[in-house]
Point group: C3
Chain length 349, copies 3
Amino acid sequence: MADPRFFDNCGPLSLAEIAKLSGATIAFDSGVPVRDVAPLDQAGAGQIGFCDNTKMRSALLVSGASAFIITRDLADAAPQAASRLISDRPSFAFAKVANALYPDASLTWRRDEPPLLPIHPTAKVGAGTTLGLGVQIGAGVEIGRDCIIGANTVIGRGVQIGHNAFIGAHVSISHTLVGDRVYIHAGSRIGQDGFGYIGSAAGHYRIPQLGRVILQDGVEIGANTCIDRGALADTVIGEGTKIDNLVQIGHNTRVGRHCVMAAEVGLSGSIELGDFVVLGGQVGVADHIKIGSGVQVAAKAGVTGNLAGGQVYGGFPAKPVGQWRREMGAISLFAKGKLRGNVSSGGKD
Amino acid sequence: MADPRFFDNCGPLSLAEIAKLSGATIAFDSGVPVRDVAPLDQAGAGQIGFCDNTKMRSALLVSGASAFIITRDLADAAPQAASRLISDRPSFAFAKVANALYPDASLTWRRDEPPLLPIHPTAKVGAGTTLGLGVQIGAGVEIGRDCIIGANTVIGRGVQIGHNAFIGAHVSISHTLVGDRVYIHAGSRIGQDGFGYIGSAAGHYRIPQLGRVILQDGVEIGANTCIDRGALADTVIGEGTKIDNLVQIGHNTRVGRHCVMAAEVGLSGSIELGDFVVLGGQVGVADHIKIGSGVQVAAKAGVTGNLAGGQVYGGFPAKPVGQWRREMGAISLFAKGKLRGNVSSGGKD
Amino acid sequence: MADPRFFDNCGPLSLAEIAKLSGATIAFDSGVPVRDVAPLDQAGAGQIGFCDNTKMRSALLVSGASAFIITRDLADAAPQAASRLISDRPSFAFAKVANALYPDASLTWRRDEPPLLPIHPTAKVGAGTTLGLGVQIGAGVEIGRDCIIGANTVIGRGVQIGHNAFIGAHVSISHTLVGDRVYIHAGSRIGQDGFGYIGSAAGHYRIPQLGRVILQDGVEIGANTCIDRGALADTVIGEGTKIDNLVQIGHNTRVGRHCVMAAEVGLSGSIELGDFVVLGGQVGVADHIKIGSGVQVAAKAGVTGNLAGGQVYGGFPAKPVGQWRREMGAISLFAKGKLRGNVSSGGKD
């Protein structure tokens, strides 16, 4: 799964090794070694998935994974030819396997190849591209023609950048594929670890982040904005989308084409935005929300449910803007004691 | 208009060139070449302005511009000796002209003079000023006496800094004039492009940002704060104003003297703040708002209308703080069902 | 008080010098020179404290300070063997003394020893630790074993870092003690000045920030997050706490163990969080608030009062989440005119 341009796989692991490091119990060992982790619905040969949710029993039944970490009550639902491990907390065990396979996922260079030169000998830089002083470019990076890379910017191993990019000073980019005509202003952080942990009474266990960031053609990003890479999937910013300063975009979020986000917007993880979505300043969106194309959200709104396309929303929780304004107006009138006639009735209660 | 210390003008352009690049149609060509863009009310000889708003007909009539891009219904309102181009979208055509005149507006060095040395030979650094390692100082920069410039900080071409400045590590400054006794903490971004686009069904077109940032004497700025330069005007932070971390200040905003902004405040564009204004943490202010001197705005408020000076406001939309508190209290009591007597009436009303 | 690894003390000062620089009047001079500033309840021999609050009269009476700056009405309450200065604004006078004792508190190197080499000869770096290119490490810094320090990161004088740290690119750290297994992602700012001023009609006077930041074992910090050091006390992040991107943590705030803060959270100063506190995205917390262990605060909430442990809160001002949801629901129903029965009375209208 994990893009080898950015991640080094330390597998394979035997089922015995997995049992030992994860604390899971072997129910059946097919003998097939585990080379990778994958989501249940995308897993194939040599890959391990997990399931801790009886509602996903049917997905488990048809998964192509070679091995599964499951709760005891799902033991019968995994394909019987596949290896199976039983765990009280399959997600935790799975994260431990992922960490064992990719112990260096946070690194922006190969573990044993820290940069010795600012521009790695294997990096390719296109004609007409200007590099500011102090720029660092990692192994295997490819940068297209006629780009500007600002002073002290650091581009991690394997990053691909198209033509005519403008990148400001002090930017860091890793684990990322960048299209043509992309602007990234000073101090933005693209591709670092997403914020993923599994909690327990002993603390929070880091889930390795094995996805990428993809910035499509014409994307523009302000200063000091952060876009985290995905956990198993990618974080994607669609073509032509413009993002202002100090915006947060969490892992696995997929933004459509030609969206606009004003400053200090916060998108948590696994959000889906359609095309031409406009988010006002300081808008926040909860995780796993879907926002339809053409939606506009007024500044400072908090989006806690899916929003149908083509409409304007505001408030917290976000609702159609007309409704929100009526509610704000009603509160004001009510507090002034002027709404009596509207709210009283002649009946009994 | 654009300060030549920061921007290189590629003009002049003939009216035929402008028509071709902007898609506008020539109604009259006076033969005077266009060397610059300007706001309608500030434009003079050799400059082009635009007007797409019939309410600005009178401003158009008295504008000193040598050329105009206007909608057809305003064709008669432009001074008849001036060149005139007709466009369905004058603002879009104007932005294209601005981009043609200043194609490198985002750059922090001259297109053909990328820095070869960390300290440009033409830069002047005053006595007693200490530069951290990795500092980069561009062409024509002037820094006064007894300043501290932190490690890896990058100062773009033409920036002027007064005496006794303290600038932290990893700061980027461009297109900016800085007074005396200014503090800028680590990672702040001063002077990058404002967030200005003209939308269309085909996407969003970048408006070149041709103004500056001006930080007056005694301004202090926290860490990772962003202050964008103006579009045609300047972004100004008045004397003695103190700004905390992670604050966003949009283009063309003018902040008065001795204001205080707590962390994560967001000011969008073209806002005017008086003197001694205090904004609590996470306050947001919509564009083109005016806030009077001495105003205090409670944390998290959202300012959507002008605020008269000398008062305290809170809530979203921001209102006098007493009113806001009454409304919050009324909601709580109402939801508990304890407000019946207050809102109902037995009599007439 | 101030940790000499980070701060150089320019004392001692005679009472006459203090009177001159602060504008305070000497009421009694014991002859003991003042070498340091301290909070009233922690001050000892050679230290000066201040009191401007008659409610703190009893604390003043038992303070061990050698000198006091107090208002006239508290003149009799200070220990009579100690030096006493009278001021209309003791806090302002005290800040001036602090600035005189620590004029270089904002610096990340010794005034007369700006770094000449990226790695200071007195710095110690443990076995197995990898430094990215462009890393700067100040005098007296100690870094443990098997750490990764990202490209261009700057570590100020005296900083101590444990083992197995992962620090991203472009990070700045000063005035900070860091435990083992700490992650700090790209562009975060740790240890810069807190946001402390004393206001007056003439403007705002900077209070020197003489505390530290302490990041305990297992703390993880996202990208472009800011944690300010304390004023006289320390800012502390407890063991295992995980903090997302673009978070602000103000001076003197103490966060417990295994807390989680989502992106764009803003904690102002002198807050106390218990253990296992969870703050959703864009939550703001006012200064001097106490939040009990196990509290969860929903995204976008604004915490303006202390929160008892073990409960879930939401809204602004933050309240128990059930109450908040009822209020939000009541507003919606009310604005639709559907709540008559609930709020009306039996009369006619």
